[in-house]
Symmetry: D2
Subunit: 341 residues, 4 copies
């Protein structure tokens, strides 16, 4: 039984606690939050769980095997580092840290201590995303052409991070998991519409080897909520609509056909074909439940999580590059090789 302490009981923390409680193999030992009223809520819901406002108490407690961190991004690094140094396995809410340098430091710390460092890239544990990866890895889509994602809604403005770090981070983690290639450069544009606030709308282009093109549109200022990804290949194409409960994944047997007919040289050489569309059944499981069980399994068998520290580092590296490009109106920024570890 792995005993977990959860730090941060705001928006996401309660989901972590609930899943650690319900999972076989894990138990919630304690919950830490600076706000007493949040801890009172924990006590009402889970009388057996200890509560504290001081994370150091958690780190010092030898009964705690692992720490899950669900606090504002700016605090991830210090809390995760202290937890690792105290010998705890760590699960950090995305993004792993506020900078690539800090993320790399955490990766090193975990490696040197042989501890599990997992990042809460929840989406990669969801059934539709795993289906996309399967379609890519089996070659069913053919050569990959583009990955295009829209993730917009009317949302609360974050204080500490811009819309890239809040929303595009999801798409970067999904791409990291689904696509076999790593981006080599990035171009980002965006705008801020509220004084003294961060960018609330942003567009991201990711350049991959072999003409694969990635693009992400994120916004906190859309009157409609869209969660839609197109993944186009030479053989088939996928539409992943996270809002469509009944058919989140649609596979289109459509594409490009290049004619080599000499006689048609003066006419169109590239046409398209449209075929059947298949919406495969996708199991309705809670991604976080799968992730939690995977985290426990990694600790128990000393395995590397799907979303490990390196994945977290790669994502933060891209976010840094995107933020740099955004400030320069789309000027492309090369991605340093280490991010492609």
């Amino acid at each position: 039984m792995i005993r977990v302490a959860v730090i941060g009981y705001g928006y996401w923390g309660p989901n972590l606690v609930r899943n650690f409680v319900e999972a076989t193999g894990t138990a919630v030992h304690s919950v830490c939050d600076r706000r007493p009223e949040r801890l009172a809520l924990v006590q009402a819901r889970y009388p057996g769980v200890r509560v504290t406002t001081d994370p150091e108490e958690v780190f010092a407690d030898t009964a705690v095997d692992a720490v899950a961190i669900a606090t504002p991004v700016g605090t991830h690094f210090e809390l995760a580092l202290r937890a690792l140094q105290a010998g705890k396995h760590v699960l950090v809410e995305k993004p792993l840290a506020h900078s690539a340098e800090a993320a790399a430091r955490l990766v090193d710390e975990a490696a040197s201590r042989n501890l599990v460092l997992a990042v809460d890239h929840t989406f990669i544990y969801s059934a539709p995303v795993r289906k996309m990866r399967e379609l890519v890895s089996t070659g069913e889509l053919g050569e990959l052409f583009y990955y295009d994602s829209v993730r917009i809604n009317l949302g609360l403005f974050q204080h500490d991070v811009n819309v890239l770090w809040d929303l595009a981070v999801h798409d970067l983690t999904i791409m990291d998991y689904v696509l076999p290639q790593r981006p080599v450069a990035i171009s980002a544009t965006g705008a801020r519409h509220v004084p003294n606030q961060t960018d609330n709308i942003a567009y991201l282009t990711l350049f991959f080897p072999d003409n694969l093109l990635g693009h992400v549109h994120v916004s906190w200022l859309s009157p409609v909520k869209l969660r839609q990804t197109l993944l186009g290949g030479s053989r088939k194409m996928v539409l992943y609509n996270d809002m469509d409960i009944s058919a989140p994944i649609k596979v289109y047997d459509s594409g490009v056909t290049v004619s080599t007919d000499e006689e048609k040289l003066h006419r169109m050489l590239v046409g398209y074909r449209t075929g059947d569309m298949l919406a495969p059944r996708v199991e309705a499981v809670e991604a976080l439940k799968v992730e939690i069980e995977h985290f426990a399994d990694c600790i128990e068998h000393n395995r590397r999580p799907l979303a490990d520290g390196e994945a977290g580092l790669r994502t933060v590296t891209l976010l840094e590059a995107a933020t740099e490009s955004l400030a320069a109106r789309g000027r492309p920024v090369e991605i340093a090789v280490p991010a492609g570890v």
Copy 2:
């Protein structure tokens, strides 16, 4: 009665001919196309219309008052110039010409001869786009924040132009008509997935003064057809879905609210409000019919068309800048002032 000659009877030409035939105030005098089989079709459908494979015949005919050009982009400039020089009023399919230099030359020629030079920016004559312009100009949307458009489908690859010149041109003309500001810089990215072909997917960011941000996503390689625009303002936001026949325009009474409450300083200062959504009735008229009648009216009363040569020049200028930025992976390109005439 304005007698019109239509040059080019391929995809779009038949629509022009039909509308010139049916409009009161215009008549089709002749149709010109290099392909005899296309002219045979004209003769079957319109026994009274003259046909020719030689555009010079059209220019020389004093019975022709105006010339409509619906040929490949590369031929627009020469045909339009010859028509103007022959003293004909001219309507050119979009884009006006293959380069800003050529477009400017046409503008000058028309001005010096006091002839009407119109560009076939069809969408600005459609009811939903006119509704958007009305919502902007009356101030109902408040301060403008962003214009975001998606125009993708599985489409035939064009030989002579990339996807920007084929599809994004529509959005550039709509923005030119709807928005009160002109873009000052542009960043574009894209990719080509078929050897020896032009870019078939592209993303365009347009930087306007006052933090207004424009973005266009175009593709010939999407398994689904989308024609969707979001126009966000400080007071209201609009969703224009050209595929939704019953409600192409939806106006959302939603937006951002900035709190100045001092006590909330440590908490969220920017939230959002959601309110009613109104889908105003939009008349179902054929945009091309409105445009044709407007063209005839401009000739008759010596007026300047809504989509005049300058609008055509501005659009071509943006397409040139976008193509330049696209080749440089999104490096921003400033828009020369003359385009903002």
Copy 3:
């Protein structure tokens, strides 16, 4: 070359004329309409076609091989009878006649003269409906459970017929074509909301052998336009949405599973399974074009049309029974056996 006369150039007649003109194997000899202004339109569009206000001229003309009738329902019988008596093959717009007695008389007349009598049940020539029939006849759907159709919109009220004869007639013809069984009884309900008018909303239940249940909802008074049919079988189910251009047919691998597990006797014995959904590619052809060519083919090779006089008679028989039941608030009406010919 089969020379056709079209009687009635109102809403549907122009579509018939256009398709007879464009089909190989048929030519339009003449058009008849009581309204001179409609005939003027014909002359403008088709200078070579003769026009007349007197149908007897058409019947008397030995150059006419076949007559297509697109007039109000109340006139179908007399015009079709006169055409058959004059030795012409006949295509009648649906429904075949205003009563089963009249329809039967036409069937007999055509049979005794060995002439082709076709009814314009356009939908059965459309690609989605043919796909449904294929799914049924190959057994892919398994045992048939239900056919449920909704056909509603804000529509013009008809003078001479109620909403059943105007809209439900489509579903009755589709069922007649797709389903292997014939209804044995019918129950209908409805209402009229405008004084001195016919019923404008109606619901129809059709009882078939073997527990197959049919239902049709039609209305001229719906603010939204729906054209949606569910066809449920023991193995698979079909959703046919005629408004969904990209995926009009969706096949669901879903259904009922009956458990025979003795130990579960106290619990639920019937559950459901959900599986993949497939939207097969459906060719975009104009149904009327297919139908016209089929009509010409039947005349040429002395074949019986898919929608022959008997199909027309069966449909009218059901409409009569439905109208009778509707007046009696749903009291079931048995279907006379001859209708099931």
Copy 4:
């Protein structure tokens, strides 16, 4: 503080318990269920709540003020009667009882003891349904023409009740709340597709005074889930789509116009107009939360609930009539006057 005992901790019971726990003014005193494993779940979640397998313990406990019953339909009557006889206020899951006779007996018992008898007609406490009632009662829709509801999905077959008692009951309760009139007759049709099971698909027509027509389509055998109601009036029409989270209520400014123009007598006299569509903002509150607080308020202030015993009786009366008509293939059944109390 009203102390509540909940009987039945299967599908719906946990929702009742959670809401009684969270509501101010109520507390959960005990939970009763025949299955020990369900009670173990209660104890894990709510350590302070008493559990028992014997309902008589609940009735005998003077600390219990009110009893909520969420057991199979067949047991409602006896449990509710015993609870009332023990002096408890009662909330019964819908439908109130298995027969109108039993329901009437409960109404009398509650009245004679001056106890609150509420039925769990949850939908009438939801924001969209309350909006519909508001649109009706303010006259915004004009004269009411029809109420049409579709409530279908792939669902578990119930043992003890047919699909009418399981699904149509929702629409009957909504109509009872929203419409100012009571039905005078009913016609129902349906079918059963699994041996030894009840009807799994059914259609219901309700005849109201003044040409108002009601219709309900329910099914456990649809591959798609639909929850859609159309409410049409002479001035406006409403589309209530319970699956559309962002716009559950749409109000169409569309309708019928009757021309009295004498000159048009030979032409169409009834046309339609289409206008704006408004989707008013509808608050996202949990209907059950509203209902629970209303129940507590009724007990405290001795008020009659919106969904009282009479409403429950009216609904059961209609279900009985519908079941009778269904067995007779749609033969209309008059509704006894007492149901219209």
